[in-house]
C-alpha cells in the first residue's frame, strides 16, 4: 500500500471553499494526495466532486483556501498553467476534438512536450518535422497500450461513447502527467468496459508511477482500485481513509442510502 511507504505529499488541499453566488459547492475541504497513489473522491450526485477537480485543475478559482502542489502554495492557476506543471485530466462529459482523428487528438496531448519554436512549427521545417516523428512514436505507444489500434484514423466524433472515453484517457496520458485527474472515467460504460478501464488505470499507476485522482459515484468500482478515498456530501468532506474504513463509516452509508430525520 502506498500509504505505508515513506510517502511524499504531491498535492495538499487546505480548507478550500467554493461558492457560486449563494450556492456553496465546496465548504472547507482539506486533504493530502501522496505521490504515486490512486486517490478517489466519491459522493452522491451534486456532492461537489467535479468542482473539486476543477479547482485543482484551475478551471475554478477557490473562494477560500489554498492548494500546495509540488511544495508550492498557490491560490489558483489557469488550466494552461496546470498543464505546464504536469496536471492532465479527462472530463465528465467527454471533451474531445470531435473533427480530428484519434492520432491527432493524442498528438494535441503532446503539445507541451514539443520544443521547437512557433515559426519552425508553422513552416514545418527541419527540426520541427523530426520532432513530429518522435512524438508520433510516443502516441503510437499509447495507442498500443490502450488497444485502440483499429480506430487510429477514425474521426473521434464517430466513435461510440466508451471508446471516446478511452481516447480521452489516451490524450491525457500523451502529456506524460505527474498528476492525472479522471472525472468519472467509467460513467456510462458496460461491465466489460469498466473492467478494461480499471486495468488501464492500474497499469498507468504501476508502470509509470503516475499519481491518479479518480472521481466516481459508483462506490464498488472505486473501492477495488483506490489506495485512499474521501467522501464528499453537500460540498463537505464527511469521511476519509482506506476503502474498508470508508465503506463501513456510518456517515457514508447515510449519505448514500439516505437517513431518517
Amino acid at each position: 500500500m502506498a500509504t505505508e511507504h515513506q510517502s511524499e505529499t504531491l498535492l495538499k488541499v487546505d480548507a478550500i471553499s467554493l461558492s457560486f453566488g449563494g450556492v456553496h459547492a465546496l465548504v472547507d475541504v482539506s486533504f493530502d494526495i501522496q505521490k504515486g497513489e490512486i486517490f478517489s473522491i466519491i459522493g452522491p450526485n451534486g456532492a461537489g466532486k467535479s468542482s473539486m477537480l476543477n479547482v485543482i485543475n484551475g478551471v475554478y478559482q477557490p473562494t477560500q483556501g489554498t492548494i500546495t502542489y509540488k511544495g508550492e502554495v498557490r491560490q489558483g492557476m489557469r488550466p494552461h498553467e496546470a498543464a505546464v506543471q504536469g496536471i492532465a485530466r479527462t472530463f465528465q462529459n467527454v471533451a474531445l476534438f470531435k473533427g480530428m482523428n484519434t492520432i491527432d487528438n493524442l498528438m494535441t496531448g503532446r503539445n507541451l512536450k514539443m520544443k521547437s519554436n512557433l515559426l519552425m512549427q508553422g513552416f514545418y521545417w527541419g527540426p520541427a518535422q523530426n520532432e513530429e516523428i518522435v512524438h508520433r512514436q510516443a502516441v503510437e505507444n499509447i495507442i498500443d497500450f490502450l488497444e485502440i489500434q483499429s480506430i487510429r484514423k477514425t474521426p473521434v466524433g464517430r466513435l461510440p461513447y466508451g471508446l471516446q472515453k478511452r481516447v480521452e484517457l489516451g490524450r491525457a496520458l500523451a502529456a506524460e502527467p505527474t498528476l492525472l485527474l479522471l472525472d468519472e472515467p467509467m460513467a456510462g460504460m458496460n461491465l466489460e468496459e469498466k473492467e478494461n478501464t480499471c486495468r488501464f488505470i492500474l497499469d498507468v499507476n504501476e508502470e509509470l508511477g503516475t499519481t491518479i485522482v479518480l472521481i466516481e459515484h459508483d462506490m464498488s468500482v472505486v473501492m477495488d482500485i483506490s489506495d485512499r478515498v474521501i467522501v464528499l456530501d453537500y460540498g463537505r468532506k464527511i469521511s476519509e481513509g482506506a476503502p474498508d474504513t470508508v465503506r463501513n463509516d456510518q456517515k457514508v452509508i447515510d449519505a448514500y442510502l439516505g437517513v431518517a430525520h
Binding site: R78, P79, H80, F91, F97, E132, R158
Partner: protein, 301 residues
C-alpha cells in the same frame, strides 16, 4: 488569335485575378473561423479600420513602408485588445455568443475608425500603375491590367504564407483543437489566449492588405467594409474552415461572375455581376453544404 477567343480569355483572366482579391478577404474569415468556430462579423469593419488608418497616416506625409508598418502594428495591437477585452471573458461560451460579440465589435470598429479619422473618401495610391500589360497585349491581343496582376501576386504570396503557417503540424492542430473545445484545449496546455491573439493579428494583417488594395480601386471610405460581403459566397463555396477552399472558391467566384456578366448578362438583361456569386453559392449549398474543402460536421445521434 481570333478576337472573340482573345476576348473570352481576357474576361476569364480578369475574373481570376479579381477572384484572388476575394480570396484575400475570405481568408480573414477563415483564419478566425478555424481558431474559434466563429464567423467574424467584424471582418469588414477591420478592413475599413486598417485601410483608414493606413491612408490617414500616409496623408500625414509618412513614408510608404513606415506607414504600412505603423498600420500593421495598430492592427496587431487591436487584436491583442480584442482578445483581452472581448474574447477572454467568453472562453467556453457557446459559439453563438461569440458571434453576437463580433456583431457588436463590427459597429464599434466602424464608429471608432470614422471617429478617430473621418468619414471622407480618401484616394489611395499604393504605387501600382493601372495600365495594360503591353507585351502581352501586342503579342496576343489580350488586355490584362498590370494592377490586377500585381495584386494577384501580392495576394498569392500572402495566401501561401498563411496557408503554410496555419495548416501544418502543431499550429494547425492547435487551431482546430481550440475551435473544437476551449476547455479541453486548455487542459492539454494549448495557450488559448496566445492562439487567439495570433489569429486575430493575422486576420488584421489580411484586412490591411485587402483594405489597401481595394482602397486603391474604390477609394478608402465606408463602403469598403462591404467588400466583406463578397467573401460570403467564396466561403460557402470553399468551406468556412479551409484555406485552400478560400483560394479556389475565390477564383471560381471571380471567374464565373465575370463570365456570367459578359455572356449571360445580355440574354437576361445585364447587371448580374452583383448577384451571380450569391446565386452560385446558393446552388452550392443545396449540393454540398460543407463547401468544397470544408470539414463535414459529424454528430452522433
Amino acid at each position: 488569335m481570333p478576337v472573340e477567343l482573345a476576348f473570352a480569355i481576357e474576361v476569364l483572366i480578369a475574373g481570376l485575378l479579381s477572384g484572388v482579391m476575394y480570396s484575400l478577404v475570405a481568408l480573414g474569415f477563415v483564419l478566425i473561423f478555424k481558431a474559434s468556430g466563429v464567423f467574424n462579423f467584424a471582418q469588414g469593419a477591420m478592413v475599413l479600420f486598417a485601410a483608414l488608418t493606413f491612408v490617414r497616416i500616409l496623408e500625414m506625409g509618412v513614408n510608404f513602408w513606415l506607414a504600412i508598418a505603423i498600420a500593421l502594428a495598430v492592427m496587431i495591437l487591436l487584436a491583442v485588445i480584442i482578445e483581452r477585452v472581448m474574447l477572454r471573458p467568453l472562453v467556453a461560451q457557446p459559439v453563438i455568443i461569440l458571434f453576437m460579440a463580433t456583431i457588436g465589435l463590427n459597429y464599434f470598429l466602424e464608429g471608432l475608425a470614422q471617429g478617430i479619422w473621418d468619414s471622407q473618401v480618401h484616394g489611395l495610391d499604393i504605387g501600382i500603375p493601372d495600365v495594360p500589360w503591353m507585351s502581352i497585349l501586342e503579342s496576343t491581343n489580350i488586355l490584362i491590367s498590370l494592377f490586377d496582376v500585381w495584386t494577384a501576386v501580392i495576394c498569392g504570396v500572402l495566401v501561401l504564407f498563411l496557408a503554410f503557417f496555419f495548416q501544418k503540424g502543431r499550429i494547425g492542430r492547435a487551431l482546430r483543437a481550440v475551435a473544437d473545445d476551449n476547455q479541453a484545449a486548455m487542459s492539454v496546455g494549448i495557450p488559448l489566449q496566445l492562439i487567439w491573439a495570433i489569429v486575430w493579428a493575422a486576420a488584421g494583417m489580411v484586412a490591411l492588405v485587402a483594405g489597401a488594395i481595394w482602397g486603391q480601386r474604390l477609394g478608402v471610405q465606408f463602403s469598403i467594409s462591404l467588400v466583406a460581403l463578397k467573401a460570403l459566397p467564396v466561403l460557402i463555396l470553399g468551406g468556412f474552415n479551409s484555406i485552400a477552399g478560400a483560394i479556389i472558391g475565390g477564383l471560381i467566384i471571380g471567374a464565373s461572375e465575370k463570365l456570367a456578366e459578359v455572356y449571360l448578362g445580355p440574354i437576361i438583361g445585364g447587371g448580374i455581376e452583383s448577384w451571380a456569386a450569391y446565386f452560385i453559392a446558393m446552388l452550392f449549398l443545396i449540393v454540398r453544404p460543407q463547401g468544397l474543402f470544408g470539414e463535414k460536421i459529424i454528430e452522433r445521434v
